[in-house]
Amino acid sequence: MTDSRAGQTALRTFADGPLTGLRRIDPRMRLVAAAVFAFSTVALHEFRSLGVALAAAALLAAWARLPAAETARRVLAVDGFIVLTLIMLPFTTPGETLVTLWGFDASRQGLEHALRIALKANAVILALLALVGTLPETTLGHALARLRVPEKLVQLFLMTVRYIEVLHQEYGRLRTAMKARGFRPRTDRHTLTSLGYLIGMLLVRSLERSERVMAAMKCRGYTGRFPLLDDLRSRPADWLFLAALTAACLALLTADRLA
């Protein structure tokens, strides 16, 4: 995951950008489009159709004007355990031997399986970053609410994104204080205990802040509902975008099945 340095924001979204192209499409349509794209992409099988899906995701990214270097970094940053799993697949899948490394046979079937997973994962993430990652967090929350996601879950979402930055700065202050006392992270028990205290203190401060937040919300008449002020509107162009994307996904799926 992204490492956390002082002075950087915790949630670095792609929301700051020119409000053109893909970024003008209704957020709800973009969310639905991302789901349609993801589910149809993971259902593909042929390499040709996976290539088309990846190219389509790249087109979406270009249309959303995602910054290339940062986007590539996020798409390629996968968990080490997934990398390990993919590397091992050719050696653990029975089938026609392609190469032999240190006495282990790598099968064509396994290599193809691993490649398929990598292509699908990258295509979906790229499309997700382009379609949804370009939304401001609150807009995403409102779009989820308008798509009938339970109200309480949306409130929790909005509350979380509202305070991530506040608590990240709190974390930064605690970390600076530790550094001022000469703390340097090492692989030992002292480091783990100190980081545990740090996280404990962060939790205590967030609990105390939540009490103040609750009091302030009550003062303003909070009874469990959060009026959402937004101006989400779908124009014909938004519906056209969703329809075109769905049609393209269905066409690709059909071509994939017939191949």
Partner: protein, 206 residues
């Protein structure tokens, strides 16, 4: 421990997504208007804590802190972790979209299980058993998560089984780190704010 899109079989995704929806629903029942700001702030705090890098030998790992989330949030850890995972997928490109339910169940179910099991000890006993309960919850939750991640892969194809075993062994240092960090965090929170554990109760009374 985020599985990516395209690796899992459809039945695994469907079953886990159904379980995820159930878990979120149970968690939301526990979220009364009174409990919402607390859960929201804690959810944000856990998101920030998951950015902390912990050195392990020459490399470093990020903590999941599922056990700690379960101890402090109970069933509400389900929706809180759902929010965190959605944010990580959408803004960091971590994990994926179709596997969101799988990743959620793999992380949140052990969190809630160990959280509820260890909470009585954390709440009532003296300082040392409470810290030990924290160690158990922290280490146990991440161990069970690793097993469930391996199981999700193994159920999707036999070829994944050797990798799943290796992943478990590779995560033993992470389990130890989680255990000790959680133990220390529990000890501190108990000392500084004794009423911190268990305000968001199980949804039984809703």
């Amino acid at each position: 421990m985020h599985i990516v899109d395209g690796a899992l079989a459809a039945p695994v995704i469907v079953a886990a997504s159904a379980a995820a929806v159930g878990g979120i629903a149970l968690g939301l029942r526990a979220l009364t208007p009174e409990a919402l700001p607390r859960a929201g702030l804690l959810s944000a705090a856990f998101f920030v804590a998951s950015l902390v890098q912990v050195p392990v030998g020459p490399s470093s790992v990020h903590l999941v802190l599922g056990g700690l989330a379960g101890l402090m949030l109970g069933w509400a850890a389900f929706p809180a972790l759902a929010v965190a995972l959605a944010l990580q997928a959408v803004f960091f490109g971590f994990g994926g979209l179709t596997v969101l339910g799988v990743n959620l169940v793999n992380i949140a179910a052990p969190a809630v299980l160990f959280g509820l099991l260890c909470r009585p000890l954390v709440r009532s006993a003296a300082a040392t058993p409470a810290a030990v309960a924290g160690v158990v919850a922290g280490g146990g939750a991440v161990a069970l998560t690793t097993i469930m991640v391996g199981l999700s892969l193994a159920l999707s194809g036999e070829a994944f089984i050797p990798a799943a075993k290796l992943v478990f062994i590779a995560h033993v240092p992470v389990m130890m780190a989680e255990a000790l960090v959680t133990g220390a965090a529990v000890a501190l929170v108990r000392k500084v704010k004794p009423d911190a554990f268990g305000l968001v109760a199980a949804p039984a009374r809703a």
